[in-house]
């Protein structure tokens, strides 16, 4: 399932549109070091972190995109950087647990 489809089905707002790709799984973490060490390529990363470094981490790990939970929106610089890098940044009104729970169900059903 592509990032845009996920955004559509989980009611996530697209804050920065990137290069669309298959979402293989999800990864939930608020610690950058954890994501760097453990997240797999093609994951959609769910977090409350929203500072500039998230873009670099997502690029480094070739993630499908970032979902900011609890409706948080980063500063314009973060979105601009994501746009330049072709990285999706989405925002969901719900908490990380809920978004992860729904994404898990969605991906399981599509397999």
């Amino acid at each position: 399932m592509l990032v845009k489809e996920v955004a559509d089905k989980l009611d996530l707002k697209i804050l920065a549109a990137g290069v669309d790709q298959e979402v293989t799984s999800g990864y939930v973490s608020d610690l950058l070091s954890d994501v760097i060490a453990n997240a797999e390529e093609g994951c959609l990363w769910i977090t409350v972190q929203r500072h500039l470094n998230i873009v670099a981490v997502a690029q480094l790990k070739k993630l499908a995109g970032i979902v900011l939970s609890r409706g948080s929106e980063p500063e314009a610089a973060v979105l601009a950087r994501a746009g330049q890098e072709g990285l999706f940044i989405l925002s969901g009104a719900e908490d990380s647990f809920t978004i992860a729970g729904k994404l898990y169900a969605l991906i399981s059903a599509s397999k």
Partner: protein, 315 residues
């Protein structure tokens, strides 16, 4: 510096607030020719402990208190007219008086409340210490004082919210924050919570105090680069928590107030801090919050938590 001087400087911060804005305007007054028994009934129904007394032109001429009524009882004068026993030495506040004037009255006279009058000496309201508190806080749920005046309230013994005295040595709980150890952040809040749990306060207020204090303490550890202290006071119907430090102060409080904004460095964020939710959490869990900060002088966080209300029976 004299106490009044300090107070006056403190009150100057709120100099634009007039007595008329913070008074209770549904004041119960009584005519001087009514019987004392009548005043007693009225005070009982309205659950008040004193009333302004007015003449036929509705001008203020005295005040009657519970003490006066008890006195009348003792001497069997309960059916006398009020003007026989009322106090005529009434200290009043004018509705255009500044908050500083009001605070002065409370300091100089040990009365619990003062009638507020207009230019015609007609009673238009009444001010109690509670009204000062509520009046200010109705206006600002959260106050930040960001100008030269703020130094006058940093490190004083007066509450930035209520103006009441908060002596360091009278705190019921004190914890010195070790700001060199990030692993210890929250220890003081956890100890305060334990202290309150031991006193059997309701778990809801104890938790709120714990969470808000935890955030304030964490801010001292992460951001202040100075020494800090937590002080806890219980005053009648409320808990007051003060977290003070002598650190670098908050650079830009408008930004700091924004959820998600944080100046925490990466290594701090990797320890799960610096989500930019600290002040938001304090605001959410405390009933009232005031943060006063000055660059290179320090930061003072003061929070009020109201205990569930109690009503006291009257005579």
């Amino acid at each position: 510096m004299s106490e009044n001087n300090k107070l006056a400087r403190y009150a100057a911060i709120f100099e634009d607030i007039k007595a008329g804005e913070i008074m209770s305007s549904n004041v119960v007054e009584i005519s001087a020719d009514k019987k004392i028994a009548h005043a007693k009934e009225l005070m009982k129904i309205k659950k008040i402990s004193g009333m302004p007394v007015v003449d036929e032109k509705k001008q203020l001429i005295g005040i009657i208190s519970i003490e006066d009524i008890i006195h009348a009882f003792e001497f069997n004068k309960i059916n006398d007219p009020i003007h026989r026993i009322m106090s005529t030495q009434v200290v009043t506040i004018h509705k255009d008086d500044s908050l500083a004037d009001v605070v002065d009255k409370f300091e100089n006279y040990k009365y619990g409340r003062f009638p507020v009058v207009d230019d015609d000496k007609r009673v238009c309201g009444i001010i109690s210490k509670e009204d000062i508190l509520h009046g200010i806080l109705e206006k600002f749920n959260l106050i930040y004082i960001h100008d030269q005046k703020r130094t006058s309230t940093l490190n004083t013994e007066y509450s930035a919210i209520t103006g009441e005295k908060l002596k360091v040595e009278e705190a019921e709980f004190h914890y010195q924050i070790d700001s060199s150890d990030i692993d210890a952040a929250g220890t003081g809040a956890a100890m305060l919570k334990q202290f309150l749990t031991g006193k059997n306060f309701h778990s809801d207020i104890v938790r709120r105090v714990g969470v808000a204090t935890y955030e304030a303490e964490t801010n001292v550890v992460i951001h202040s680069r100075g020494q800090g202290d937590i002080y806890f006071y219980q005053h009648e119907d409320r808990f007051i928590v003060r977290v003070v430090d002598n650190g670098i102060g908050i650079e830009d409080l408008d930004k700091a107030m924004k959820e998600g904004y944080s100046t925490a460095p990466d290594y701090i964020r990797e320890r799960g801090f610096g989500a930019g939710m600290g002040i938001a959490n304090m605001k959410r869990f405390a009933d009232k919050l005031v943060i006063i900060s000055e660059k290179k002088v320090g930061t003072q966080v003061e929070m009020i938590f109201y205990l569930p209300t109690q009503t006291w029976p009257l005579i």
